[in-house]
């Protein structure tokens, strides 16, 4: 079997249509990024996220109303996996101060009802993430620490010293969410699949590291290309890279929350996908340019446009087939890889399509136009 054999398509002659297509895709993406914005995941934004799976299917809308009354402000809730899974996220790091009295009351009600004798005979202290209770004697402190722990609070003795009379109760945000779910969703128990808390500092560092990584990748590729080809080609190739990355990123903004089950948030894995894309999409460009260089040696008199067409047509079969096999495996990942890898697979899938397109139509076209504009004889 042999497809795309002996192609004789005048790609370069039609390049203005490709420019038009690329520019409109690019503008569409940028427009959406500007107005709808990119959604960043917890890795970058910081915050608290928990993923729970209920025993029976659950309506996300119901869950939203249930959790709205918890006083946590804006909570994001999405389906995760099938209709029994839910992803709950807030950008908060710690429980809002106004919630403390409510929780304190819950804790103290619990203490008072289980040990009526000591009701009111203890002191409490607040700190950003916890409440500390001081009791009259060490034994009571131990007993209450255990009781509260069994009731679902994160309690513990302040120290293991024999004389310790203090009990500390952690009231983190995820604890409060779990506690609320337990109280509000009756008769449908749940299991915590995943729980993440990322501090604001980590998110900021990650943003910086990502920028560095992307810039370094581009520099690395530029240096490599500079060794292999003359400037024009490196210029065309890198421009095509920007084209690929920005259009795919634009797609993120366009399709965010459009396709159910596809959670298009920019997180660490997605960044990994984009970096891989940079490395992958340069491949096709390099291979076309390689062919151009080879053809130039044979047909010295032909124009650059003709040479480009010749090289592209000759490598088209390979371009389509390797792009196709990679697409196949990424497509399998998109279907079977599960929620965690879906955004990654999506990025690669569209990135590869756009990358293959750009290395054939954009990178080469830029080189031709550049050579025309400056009326230069292109050398390799």
């Amino acid at each position: 079997m042999q497809l795309f054999h002996n192609l004789k398509i005048d790609f370069m002659g039609n390049r203005k249509y490709f420019y038009l297509l690329s520019v409109s895709l690019f503008l569409l993406g940028m427009f959406n990024i500007a107005f709808r914005g990119l959604q960043f995941g917890i890795d970058f934004k910081g915050g608290t996220e928990i993923v729970v799976k209920f025993e029976k299917p659950i309506k996300i809308a119901d869950l939203r109303t249930d959790l709205q009354s918890t006083g946590l402000g804006e909570i994001e809730i999405k389906t995760f996996g099938d209709n029994a899974g839910a992803l709950i996220r807030t950008e908060l790091q710690a429980l809002p101060q106004n919630l403390f009295p409510k929780i304190q009351k819950q804790i103290e009600d619990d203490i008072n009802s289980s040990y009526p004798a000591i009701a009111g005979k203890y002191r409490s202290e607040k700190s950003p993430n916890s409440l500390t209770y001081t009791f009259n004697d060490p034994d009571t402190a131990s007993a209450i620490a255990n009781k509260l722990f069994l009731d679902g609070f994160q309690s513990g003795k302040v120290s293991e010293e024999v004389t310790n009379r203090q009990v500390n109760v952690q009231v983190g945000i995820s604890d409060w969410i779990k506690e609320s779910l337990k109280n509000k969703v009756k008769g449908n128990s749940f299991q915590v699949l995943r729980e993440e808390r990322v501090g604001p500092k980590v998110g900021n560092e990650l943003k910086r590291d990502t920028m560095i990584a992307i810039v370094l990748s581009l520099i690395g590729i530029l240096i490599y290309l500079a060794f292999r080809y003359k400037f024009v080609f490196a210029f065309g190739a890198v421009l095509a890279l920007f084209h690929d990355v920005l259009i795919t990123l634009g797609l993120y903004a366009v399709l965010y929350n459009v396709i159910p089950g596809l959670n298009l948030e920019v997180n660490l894995t997605v960044v990994a996908a984009f970096l891989t894309l940079i490395g992958y999409s340069i491949n096709d460009t390099v291979i076309v340019f390689d062919r151009v260089r080879e053809t130039i040696k044979v047909h010295k008199t032909e124009s650059l446009e003709t040479l480009m067409n010749l090289a592209i047509n000759k490598t088209m079969s390979r371009t389509i087939i390797t792009g196709g096999t990679t697409l196949m495996s990424v497509f399998v990942l998109l279907l079977l890889g599960g929620d965690v890898l879906r955004a990654f697979a999506f990025t690669m899938f569209f990135g590869i399509i756009i990358g293959t397109y750009s290395s054939v139509f954009v990178a080469s076209a830029i080189v031709v136009d550049y050579a025309k504009k400056y009326n230069k004889k292109v050398e390799f």
Binding site: S159, N204, I221, T269, V271, A272, T325, S329, L336
Partner: protein, 645 residues
């Protein structure tokens, strides 16, 4: 022909090595299946026999079952150690990034912090949480801006700012090592299998606890303050006596049965007692190991040396769990409580036997003589006169008074230094120590002395840590991810492989075959380097499957073109391979560049992706340039017709 045979041998050797490297993973998979089946059966059984069991109790019992199966067969452990390690996102567990809170540390270090100091510290802390500058540097700058000398709060009046800053830097660095050591100590005790504790940057600690689902417990484990205590060891005679009582109740005999030992216990001159005990144990050595274990459950786990002056018992690493369970039994606790005693284990193995560590078991007073809060400083050094490593310890005035009394009253007894319930060392008290300055000898090298210094300081200077990042993956999500990853790899391979075979016929079949070997090589390289396979790592493998055929496609397309110019098949294959080489190398190098950068910058799962991608690139080069080539040459030599589609 000769060259072909040589390459053939290389490929066969590579396959053999991979199979060898991957076998433990397969074995571990089988073992896990068997154990989970056994645990399942046991669960049914326990539920039937005792329906009133709570979930927690049931889990605990089942944990014991699986532990004992694992302990019974060393090959299970070995397979587990050599298998491909799975990341936390696949096997479930907890990953915590901790950062030492320098602000709190400095507050503790300051001599007389007033409000002005606290304000500066607070603003420096806020700035440090957003920038990358260290708190110590920020503070130095802020003090300078305000024209306050650092010696007002730190160090002595004679020191200048730069000296103090250097000192503070050293202190904050030490706090990180101390926090790491405390965490390692606790994690070891907690009994997590294959934990990983790493330093990242200057003051971050990354802790990975596979399989931990109870985050509350784990969090407390990581964040609580360390408790350092000084506890006197019980006298050897007394210890042996207690051990025998414990042994007896564990064997199911009542204490009254053994009037023989009980009567000697009250007789003055307990020496006799211990010699009797020694006789007892030597006599028992004639029993078969099974019988001995039944008759003397305690002594079969905690071995004592009859010749030794001390009554330290020795416990092998894999018996620790069992021993702790024995000691937790109420009847044993009764014996210990009645004599204000408790058993504590050594923190590190004292020696190794049959590849596993041996720990010392001490019997100490339950109430501590002193806690570590009295320690003001500790320093490890080489004693100039003996050139042996020593640790010097200083105490505050209240501590020193107490310490003088304790040491004076217990000369020639041993005092254990206990951090979070494990013993770091148990030196003999040589004489009364007035003034609170003690010298601890007996460390085997400077590293050990340094560790003791860290331990002693843990009481004096807590290293407060903040949780920066915390990620927990439940086991069921991990299990789902494994099967999703496996299915993606399998179907990805099938789809691409079938396409190659259909499109490129025999040449495609050779590529598909090479591709399956490439996947095997990737996995075996991961196993060899004990690298971690994560879910994104699996994505890397799937991606490699798609990209690996790129080289094959380049080559086959080239061969087609060469054939079209009228060359023979053999010549076409030759020039096809050599002409495609440049393009193949080019296209792999760019991907490699980004993979390396990703590996440098990524963390956890993403690093796993970069790793499989890198390995994938290298192995697929081998697959295309060597394996496919050999297969094609082989077909050619045997006179088969090579079809390209």
């Amino acid at each position: 022909m000769k060259a072909l045979r040589f390459r053939f041998i290389i490929i066969v050797a590579a396959i053999a090595i991979s199979v060898y490297l991957l076998y433990p993973t397969y074995q571990d998979y089988q073992n896990t299946k068997q154990i989970s089946q056994a645990v399942k059966n046991k669960r049914e059984l326990l539920k039937k026999v005792n329906p009133g069991l709570s979930v927690d109790q049931l889990d605990k019992l089942l944990q014991n079952t699986s532990d004992s199966i694992k302990a019974a067969d060393p090959s299970i452990r070995e397979a587990r150690m050599k298998r491909i390690k799975l990341g936390l996102d696949l096997q479930g567990g907890m990953r915590v990034v901790l950062e030492v809170n320098t602000v709190k540390l400095l507050e503790k270090l300051a001599n007389n912090p007033d409000d002005a100091f606290k304000n500066i510290l607070a603003s420096a802390g806020k700035e440090a949480s957003l920038s990358n500058e260290s708190v110590v540097d920020l503070i130095g700058r802020k003090f300078q801006e305000k024209g306050i000398r650092l010696s007002r709060y730190f160090g002595t009046i004679r020191q200048d700012d730069s000296e103090i800053l250097k000192d503070l830097k050293k202190q904050s660095e030490e706090a990180v090592t101390r926090a790491k050591e405390i965490i390692r100590n606790r994690v070891d005790q907690y009994g997590v299998s294959e934990p990983s504790i790493q330093l990242q940057g200057e003051r971050r600690i990354i802790v990975e606890l596979p399989g931990v689902a109870k985050e509350e417990e784990a969090r407390q484990l990581l964040q609580g303050t360390a408790l350092l205590e000084f506890k006197l060891l019980k006298e050897p005679e007394f210890t042996v006596n207690v051990m025998e009582q414990v042994d007896r109740v564990l064997a199911g005999k009542s204490l009254e049965d053994t009037s023989e030992v009980d009567s000697t216990k009250n007789v003055p001159g307990a020496k006799k007692d211990s010699s009797l005990a020694k006789n007892d144990t030597t006599k028992n050595q004639k029993l078969s190991p099974e019988q001995f274990a039944k008759e003397h459950p305690f002594f079969s786990v905690a071995l004592i040396n009859p010749q030794s002056q001390s009554a330290d018992a020795y416990v092998k690493a894999d018996q620790k769990e069992r021993l702790l369970r024995m000691l937790a039994k109420p009847e044993v606790q009764n014996i210990l409580n009645s004599s204000n005693a408790e058993f504590v284990l050594g923190a590190k193995p004292v020696t190794y036997q049959e590849g596993q560590g041996v720990f010392v078991l001490y019997l100490v007073n339950k109430t501590a003589e002193l806690t570590g809060s009295v320690v003001t400083n500790a320093n490890s050094n080489i004693d100039p006169s003996t050139s042996a490593p020593v640790v010097n310890m200083e105490m505050n005035s209240e501590g020193a008074t107490e310490w003088a009394r304790i040491t004076g009253a217990n000369i020639n007894k041993r005092c254990a230094i206990v951090l979070d319930n494990v013993v770091y060392t148990a030196p003999v008290i040589r004489g009364k120590i007035p003034g609170g300055r003690s010298q601890i000898e007996g460390s085997t090298d400077l590293a050990e002395a340094k560790l003791l210094e860290i331990v002693l300081k843990a009481g004096a200077l807590p290293a407060p840590v903040d949780i920066m990042e915390e990620r927990t993956v439940g086991p069921s999500l991990g299990q789902d991810s494994i099967s999703q990853g496996f299915n993606s790899t399998l179907f990805g391979y099938l789809l691409v492989g079938i396409f190659m075979i259909v499109y490129y016929k025999r040449a495609g079949t050779a590529s598909a075959l090479a591709l399956s070997l490439v996947i095997m090589f990737i996995l075996s390289i991961l196993a060899y380097f004990k690298a971690t396979l994560t879910l994104p790592g699996i994505a890397g493998i799937v991606l490699t499957i798609g990209m690996a055929v790129d080289s094959n496609v380049l080559i086959i397309e080239r061969i087609r073109e060469e054939l079209a110019t009228g060359k023979t098949m053999k010549a076409s294959i030759d020039s096809g391979f050599s002409k495609a080489l440049a393009a193949i190398v080019d296209s792999n190098i760019t991907t490699m560049i980004t993979a390396v950068i990703l590996y440098q910058f990524g963390t956890g799962p993403v690093q796993g992706f970069a790793l499989t991608l890198m390995i994938g690139i290298l192995t697929s080069l081998f697959g295309a340039l060597v394996i496919t080539r050999v297969l094609l040459d082989f077909l050619l030599n045997k006179g088969y017709k090579i079809t390209l589609g």
